[in-house]
Symmetry: C2
Subunit: 472 residues, 2 copies
């Protein structure tokens, strides 16, 4: 890399794509560093460990803690626990947070939570049991505690849980100069804020001013003249997924949160929205694969097994269902054993085609691009695609079956079964998630199992049923 020699940028330059040897990912603590950390843990060398972690970002330290193995992690926490601050704590994955909390000396924990923003404290304690929760609340200042408790009063996964209570507001009649003087006189301001929220005397937000515009305007300009054109408030009861969608759709950087009386109670910033968006994606992808959405790379084998077993159990039941269909045609199979050879092909093609349609439908629903106005057009499109793909593969498989088993009628049977199954797969792939959405369930959650059950049952039934009618 051109500037590798420049010590100033050595740590902080983001990976250069032109660099030919890109294998070592530069975002990650380098392999050697990890080895050195391992060594320091093994030698119980606190000083060395502190020196190694000193220059690192809290998020990277949290990643290291997550990647350590059970006993290593314990050893690490024993050496490093009194250095864990609010920033590191809020970066640590939920899955191991309780474990980390147990190792923290009470005064370290108290210091850590006192320096956290209210939204991070809420995120930290909302899953804790009562005694731990009470202990952390007790460590907070009165005003912070009130803010956290106010947030916790809103439903889980609501904007009220996501917001930080720290807001920067100004009366609607202020000028730029008054606002700047006020900001300069405040000894406490949130670490990150991007807008001044204008409020009326009853704390109803009525607009906001981007800091860039404030800075570029003369002191006498009234704030009102600088308000952003598009201004949206978020209800504290809004679902966090909807909030994330709005940030993404309208390119929001921050949005004021209001209570049921439309009074300002907090603000949500884009990094919170980005986090939620990331989590929702993760959930979708894991649910589609039949993996519990709480799975983490830090889980033990037993935890992992416990998450996956129920989904495999459901799959077993549906697989047995499909086998029952096969069992109906046992005699036919015994007469024409080629059917046993070919039948998984029909089922497999149906399953794949159904999964393709399903995935597209689930994503379109998640991004709100499949709506009342285009739903029937998309259903029609999928049905046509299913039929056309069915025709294409009917031709291919008829020829394959004909040559393989030297049977023209067998070729015709598998061809027709293919058309039927791929058309049904397409319809199941779009209609099942739509029905789940309509019923208020997450389309990603159970559709996969439903869709492949349909394609297996229909595939086996169409192929074997036709065969027993035609070929006997």
């Amino acid at each position: 890399m051109a500037d590798q020699q420049d010590p100033r940028n050595d740590d902080k330059k983001i990976v250069n794509m032109s660099d030919s040897e890109r294998e070592e990912d530069e975002f990650l603590p380098r392999r050697e560093l990890l080895d050195q950390i391992d060594e320091a843990i093994e030698a119980e060398d606190t000083e060395r460990l502190n020196a190694l972690l000193e220059p690192m970002h809290a998020a990277d330290i949290a990643d290291i803690i997550e990647q350590l193995h059970g006993s290593e992690r314990t050893a690490f926490l024993q050496l490093y626990s009194d250095r864990i601050d609010g920033e590191i704590l809020s970066e640590i994955d939920e899955a191991i947070r309780e474990e980390v909390l147990e190792f923290l000396p009470r005064d370290v924990l108290a210091d850590a939570v006192r320096e956290m923003d209210s939204d991070d404290v809420v995120d930290l304690i909302e899953d804790l049991d009562e005694p731990e929760r009470a202990e952390i609340l007790a460590a907070l200042d009165d005003s912070d505690r009130a803010a956290v408790q106010q947030s916790l009063a809103y439903p889980e996964h609501s904007a009220g849980r996501l917001m930080q209570s720290e807001t920067v507001t100004a009366p609607e009649h202020w000028s730029v100069g008054e606002t700047i003087d006020f900001l300069r006189s405040e000894d406490w301001l949130p670490e990150q804020f991007y807008h001044i929220i204008l409020v009326d005397p009853r704390r109803h937000p009525i607009g906001y001013v981007a800091l860039g515009r404030l800075l570029a305007s003369r002191r006498e300009v009234p704030l009102k003249d600088l308000c952003e054109d598009s201004f949206r408030t978020v209800s504290a009861y809004a679902e966090e997924g909807d909030v994330a969608y709005a940030f993404n759709q309208y390119h929001l950087i921050s949005a004021p949160v209001v209570d049921a009386d439309d009074r300002l109670v907090g603000v949500i910033t884009i990094d919170d929205a980005m986090y939620v968006l990331d989590e929702e994606h993760e959930e979708d992808i894991l649910r589609l694969a039949g993996v519990g959405e709480d799975s983490a790379i830090t889980d033990t084998a037993l935890e992992t097994m416990r998450q996956r077993l129920p989904w495999l159990m459901v799959n077993l039941v549906t697989a047995i269902l499909a086998s029952l269909v096969i069992a109906v045609f046992e005699t036919t199979i015994q007469q024409i054993v080629a059917l046993a050879v070919l039948m998984p092909i029909v089922a497999s093609m149906g399953g794949n085609a159904g999964t393709q349609t399903l995935t597209v439908a689930v994503r379109a629903l998640a991004t709100k691009s499949l709506t009342g106005s285009n739903v029937w057009r998309v259903v029609k499109r999928e049905a046509i695609v299913g039929l056309m793909n069915g025709l294409a593969f009917a031709i291919v498989m008829s020829v394959v079956a004909w040559f393989w088993f030297d049977g023209v009628s067998l070729g015709a049977v598998i061809g027709i079964a293919m058309i039927v199954n791929l058309t049904v797969a397409a319809l199941a792939g779009i209609l099942i998630p739509l029905a789940m959405e309509k019923a208020g369930a997450d389309p990603a959650l159970a559709s996969g199992t439903f869709v492949t059950t349909v394609t297996d049952v229909v595939g086996f039934f169409a192929f074997l049923g036709l065969a027993s009618a035609v070929l006997k």
Copy 2:
């Protein structure tokens, strides 16, 4: 909703979760509105259409254009084309952008691109053919054109393509007062900026100051004292996915982009990073399902078929491969037809277990949480989970097979086959994506096909092979 009466908030309040009748999603243009738009299009009533769209956000107007059907969209564009501005244009999905561009009168297009930020212009023209590209470039001011051409000189999907060239900088020796005076005197500033970037005389960025801190500080304070602790520059050659990861990992709001000589060439803001993150997720999920990542809800049936057919073709080849394994055991199946009934269960369970592991592995690789330091531990964990799940389902299926077909040895055979296949499925599910990553390929792209091929082949072979050895 409590404040539905308040006209001020009617349009702009984000959906309230406490609202019991949440079916009508309030983010979307209401159904009636869409119907009214349809009517206006049909009546060719330009005035009515303009009135309906007037209060809407550009992103929502773009969504409506995307959701309209072929001929409807043509009719819409004929009525509305001279109202399409830069904001709407940059919101329109790539899939239909060329179609929209064709309808724009040349002067409208020129006005639209002139008001766009340089990064949006780059995004708009990077996929266009030469004549359209030249036409748009010709419409730009000299300085904007230079900025766009500079961006286009960087590789596709690089930070250089993502950045906007408009930056707000200050010499490192300036004070707060000098900076504010400068900002007030500038008649042109980017619409959104969150930091002042400090540069040395050679335009090397050396730190940045958040606008909030600038506003809260007295005029005489030197900018240097206000610099953020953590400061990262992005190489213009960095891969956009890595940039998005860094924004997410380090909670960046904006990051300066530097060229090979470490000089400032632009800035990337969090909304760009959020967009990239969203796209990468989408790609992962679609690739895992064997759907071309360029698929859009606006695609026609023919386009959709063209995207999906190749993946189904690959699946057909692997399904035939699995059938060849079955064909080896034709005689055994003819003797014990129960094998034909039960064999899809073994294959299906393996396929599902493999997909579970695969999905977790692909996500862990994408989020950089599966790294050198924990990879063998995760492989071991997956193998153990596969073995344990195999044992669990071996017991269940042995009993089922025993009762169903009244055969103890058949039960034993399916049990052993289940253990073998679920263990192999787990190993394939983790090792194949790891190998693809190592080889520089996207693990999401082809792993699904490989993994299910392995589980089908191993499943059929283990079950039928054992049966032919034991049961004859």
